[in-house]
Symmetry: D3
Subunit: 67 residues, 6 copies
């Protein structure tokens, strides 16, 4: 019955990668807590880098500097 929300920056994660993430986190909840996978919900939000801040600055800007 768990509910998992994963937020990542929008960076072109593929459907295959998101499928692996959904499968992996669902299995992890089985392995660590014995949860029922059938009713485990996973929602992935992909966030624009202008809308994600770390250390007080947008990720867009942090990435330009580190290029």
């Amino acid at each position: 019955m768990p509910y998992v929300n994963i937020k990542i920056t929008r960076d072109g994660a593929t459907a295959e990668q998101k499928k692996a993430l959904i499968a992996g986190v669902t299995q992890l909840l089985v392995d660590t807590l014995g949860k029922n996978p059938a009713t485990t919900t996973v929602i992935i939000d992909e966030i624009d880098t202008d809308n994600w801040g770390l250390g007080g600055r947008p990720v867009t800007e942090l990435r330009q500097e580190s290029k």
Copy 2:
């Protein structure tokens, strides 16, 4: 003052349907808990089926199988 967040798969819900959902859940909070509708906030998130997992698999895949 309640805050409600409803997540559904992105399936072409119309503005009229979302309006009915907003009106209905706001009224429900009046009826069940006596909440003030004027300050009740409802936010609907529509999620791509690649980004929603149930039973360890993306909804995109679950739907292809059930066709």
Copy 3:
């Protein structure tokens, strides 16, 4: 498959009231969007009034004034 999160102030909502809220919002998603109730998840968070702000002020304070 919808996921609903309802946040209300912690005011002594009873188990019966929360049960009615869960039943009502699940049925609303059937009625407005044709969603499957079996996989609809509802989570209610009850929030201390010190931790809920409206209009820039804690609800604790707003309620003291309106007494």
Copy 4:
């Protein structure tokens, strides 16, 4: 280490405005609670006005009336 999620209606907030919001809320957590800005995360969600309800009605409709 704080995590902040800010939801606003999608109204054309600029990258500069969102940058100011990220900087401001991160600094506020330093000033009020002594939090470490380096690990403070801020995520801004911009929500379509059809998907935001207040007082039981979509913001799209509320705005049309107030024109």
Copy 5:
């Protein structure tokens, strides 16, 4: 930089189990998406069974029936 929120029913998950969950989901984001573990945040919410609904009914009630 990912942010993960995991909601489970309040059932006496131990600190060791939650530690394993935090480690596992952080590693999963490294393995599937190449994310930086140092800035990955995981927050676990434990929810009372009166406040969690599935299929339109509180988990408290679903569990009493299945005893």
Copy 6:
């Protein structure tokens, strides 16, 4: 109309500190985006350090090491 959710570790933040946080973030949304403070909602969640992970480890453990 903005909605802000702030998650911090449960460390004894006082009602006065939370009041300052609510006032500050509401004013910030006025200053940066011209939002209406009257309908701005702020919710603060205080999270046990066993339930907050950073860098793949619970904050409880990170803090013991840094003592």
